[in-house]
């Protein structure tokens, strides 16, 4: 078979040309060469990855991608988004199809250590909860014995759910789907009594129901779900760029810098602010980025609070409270190490 032979030869040729990408800095080089950050995101998912009719993306997870692009290129639009299902997401990152996975994925021990990936930092602290129809008159998850539960397959949610029901000696019927909108639709149509997912998703799912007012989120939170971006293991430089791009948004909120007042703040006397905005030496540390990288992020994408409110908070249909995602100063968990 001639074709197979040609294939083999072609394969060998390409193998000899392919560059080993293991060394630190390779990702940044590749990103610069592509002139864009290849960012893996969710399939359309209100609040975290919205897509309008023209195909433009916005949302909390999208902002992380944009922040990284702003830090590297000074242009938040130099991002190439790839929608990924739960199943594809890690493979896509592992194979280099995307440079960065910002797809509300939970950081866990096994994912951080066993899959060649590194969890960057939680950009949204979440917990798994339950959404039920009001008509069922259920007040607590403990009353859910015997219920049919809709879940997205291949998620930590699926495992937590089984654990929770087992721990409480209750029975359930799992109804699983690959995609989130299928889960929501099944719940809406009455295929199941309960929809379980991260609470952020529950709120987001609720607004896509026929009758959003007819469903309530139960008070129980059965798991810790720190959601955040992932990068490939083995390129520390890239990990640091992504991690600190996200911290920059949190730090900006902490320092009171917003996209609106960023220019004004460059004139601030506070050395922390000056350092942060690149007006004074020392802020850029050793990242291979422009001195004003953090300024670019805040100016072009906004601080964490801005991003949160317009994506999932009061400025959005989801109206999620900051809760655990408030700054540490306000009793939440969002905390950036100092920029010095």
């Amino acid at each position: 078979m001639k074709s197979a032979k040609t294939l083999a030869v072609a394969g060998l040729l390409s193998a000899s040309f392919a560059m080993p990408a293991a060394h630190a800095g390779a990702t940044l080089d590749a990103v610069k060469k592509n002139d864009a950050v290849k960012c893996g995101i969710n399939t359309p998912f209100p609040g975290f990855a919205n897509q309008d009719e023209k195909g433009n993306w916005s949302g909390l997870d999208i902002d992380v991608c944009r922040a990284v692009a702003a830090a590297i290129f000074g242009d938040p639009n130099k991002v190439k988004f790839t929608s990924l299902t739960a199943k594809e997401r890690f493979t896509a990152l592992q194979s280099g199809e995307v440079d960065l996975l910002s797809r509300n994925s939970t950081g866990t021990l096994s994912r951080d250590t066993g899959m060649g990936l590194t969890f960057v930092a939680p950009n949204y602290y979440d917990g798994q909860g339950f959404l039920v129809k009001k008509s069922l008159n259920v007040k607590s998850a403990k009353e859910l014995d015997g219920a049919s539960v809709c879940i997205q397959s291949g998620t930590t949610t699926e495992l937590n759910l089984a654990d929770y029901f087992r721990a409480n000696n209750m029975k359930f019927e799992p109804i699983t789907y690959e995609k989130l909108d299928e889960v929501t639709k099944a719940f809406d149509e009455g295929r199941c009594d309960v929809l379980t997912s991260d609470q952020s998703q529950l709120y987001s799912n609720r607004i896509t129901l026929k009758d959003p007012e007819g469903a309530v989120v139960l008070p129980e939170v059965i798991s810790k779900e720190p959601l955040g971006p992932f990068v490939r293991q083995g390129d520390d430089e890239w990990l640091k760029i992504v991690r600190w791009s996200y911290y920059a948004m949190v730090e900006a909120e902490d320092l009171g810098i917003t996209s609106a007042n960023a220019d004004e703040m460059t004139k601030s006397a506070d050395p922390n602010i000056k350092r942060f905005l690149g007006m004074e030496e020392g802020g850029d540390a050793n990242l291979p980025l422009d001195k004003k990288w953090a300024y670019n992020i805040v100016k072009m994408v906004g601080n964490y609070s801005e991003s949160f409110e317009r994506s999932v908070g009061q400025g959005s249909p989801l109206k999620i409270n900051r809760g655990l995602n408030a700054l540490w100063k306000n009793g939440g968990l969002q905390y950036s190490p100092p920029f010095r």
């Binding site: 060649g116 495992l159 654990d163 699983t176």
Partner: protein
């Protein structure tokens, strides 16, 4: 080798074997070289893929091997034919998925065959209306993707059913609702075993009656209503035993409690939708096969049978069907194979088949893509090979019978 007896004085100048062509012009040598090169090429390609995969897996810290099959799965599955809990292993998950696949395939084959044969015969009906309806059915169904049909049933039609609390109920025993069809499930008492044995005995008896009737027919020409007797025996004998042993069977009657029905047996809507769509889709193809199979038997055959005095139904039984089957069976088997492969579309509606729970969820939870996809493909390959082995055997047998 020259034989001296054949030519008394072989001329010395003539070689006794044909002269050898030069190496490159010898077709055998060329073929050999070509094949060696090909093997090397494919070997290199495989080695290339293999080494890349190993390297990639290694770099990502993914352990290879089948150890994961012994680890607990941790997730639930809607429909399990064998005992399964969240604490069961991934190996068990594989089995559960495989059985669910085989369940749909088996039921689908039965329904598709029944529907397909009916439509195929209807297509040949003398009643114009029936044959037209069969034609419209065939031409509509087989030109619409099966996935679309599955989704249509699951997403558009089944949700129109009422919720569990407002189920359509039949005699308070059967309930049809959004979450499936709930039926009473049997609870067997130990004495039920007698009914079971009676059933086996009845099968044997029916077989014996069949043999006896055939022997008698051949001996005396008397015909005996074998089919009805056999049906009577197979139903009657276990039934009598059942009552004689004191009706050792109870029914777990479903009752609405809490959110869902408790007790009984629920056929989940995913199964219903998948079965409906695949049976109907495959039936459209089977109908065409049956029609063309029956039509492939020339009119002369039934005329000859008729002229010998055989009634139309006997003609069908003794002359047309045996010949049509030889055209039908190979194509039918390949439709069965297609149906089996199409059960994998269940993943689109969350039916827990092999592809869904194993190549889907398990892959996701473990990340062992290579092993899992490999195992999944192997299962389907094994099924296909078994079926095509059967086909080869059948074709060979038929070739023997025909000539």
């Amino acid at each position: 080798m020259a034989d001296p007896n054949l030519s008394a004085t072989p001329p010395q100048t003539l070689s006794t074997v044909p002269s050898k062509p030069s190496f490159w012009n010898d077709p055998q040598k060329r073929a050999l070289v070509f094949q060696i090169l090909l093997v090397i090429g494919i070997g290199l390609l495989l080695w290339f893929i293999f080494s890349n995969t190993l390297h990639n897996l290694d770099k990502r810290g993914i352990k290879t091997g089948f150890d994961f099959l012994d680890r607990p799965a941790g997730f639930g599955i809607t429909q399990t034919l064998i005992p399964y809990t969240e604490a069961s292993t991934f190996g068990r998950t594989f089995l559960v998925g495989l059985l669910n696949t085989l369940l749909v395939a088996g039921l689908g084959i039965i329904f598709a065959t029944m529907l397909g044969f009916s439509v195929g015969v209807a297509r040949l009906s003398k009643n114009w209306l029936i044959s037209r309806i069969a034609l419209v059915f065939i031409e509509t169904i087989r030109n619409i993707p099966p996935l679309l049909q599955i989704l249509f049933w699951y997403r558009a039609i089944l949700p129109l059913l009422p919720g569990p609390k407002d189920s359509i109920s039949l005699a308070e025993l059967f309930y049809l609702h959004k979450r499936g069809l709930t039926l009473p499930s049997p609870l067997f008492e130990p004495a039920f075993i007698w009914t079971f044995w009676a059933f086996i005995a009845a099968l044997v008896l029916a077989f014996i009656i069949g043999r006896w009737a055939k022997a008698r027919r051949e001996k005396t020409g008397e015909q005996f209503p074998v089919l009805w007797t056999a049906v009577g025996v197979i139903i009657g004998v276990p039934l009598i035993t059942f009552f004689l042993t004191g009706s050792p069977l109870n029914w777990d009657v479903p009752a609405l409690s809490g959110f869902n029905f408790r007790g009984g047996l629920t056929v989940i809507p995913e199964l219903t939708a998948l079965l409906l769509a695949l049976s109907i889709y495959t039936a459209a193809f089977i109908a065409e096969i049956v029609r063309s199979g029956i039509q492939s038997v020339s009119k002369g055959q039934s005329e000859a049978a008729a002229s010998l005095g055989l009634r139309p139904n006997r003609t069908l039984q003794l002359v047309v069907i045996p010949q049509a089957m030889r055209v039908i069976i190979p194509q039918l088997t390949s439709q069965y194979l297609n149906l089996t492969k199409n059960t994998s579309l269940g993943v689109a509606i969350g039916y827990p088949d092999l592809v869904n729970v194993f190549a889907g969820t398990t892959l996701n939870q473990t990340g062992q893509a290579v092993e899992i996809i490999f195992m999944t493909m192997l299962v389907y390959l094994a099924i296909s090979l078994t079926i095509s082995m059967f086909m080869n055997w059948y074709n060979k047998r038929m070739a023997l019978v025909e000539r």
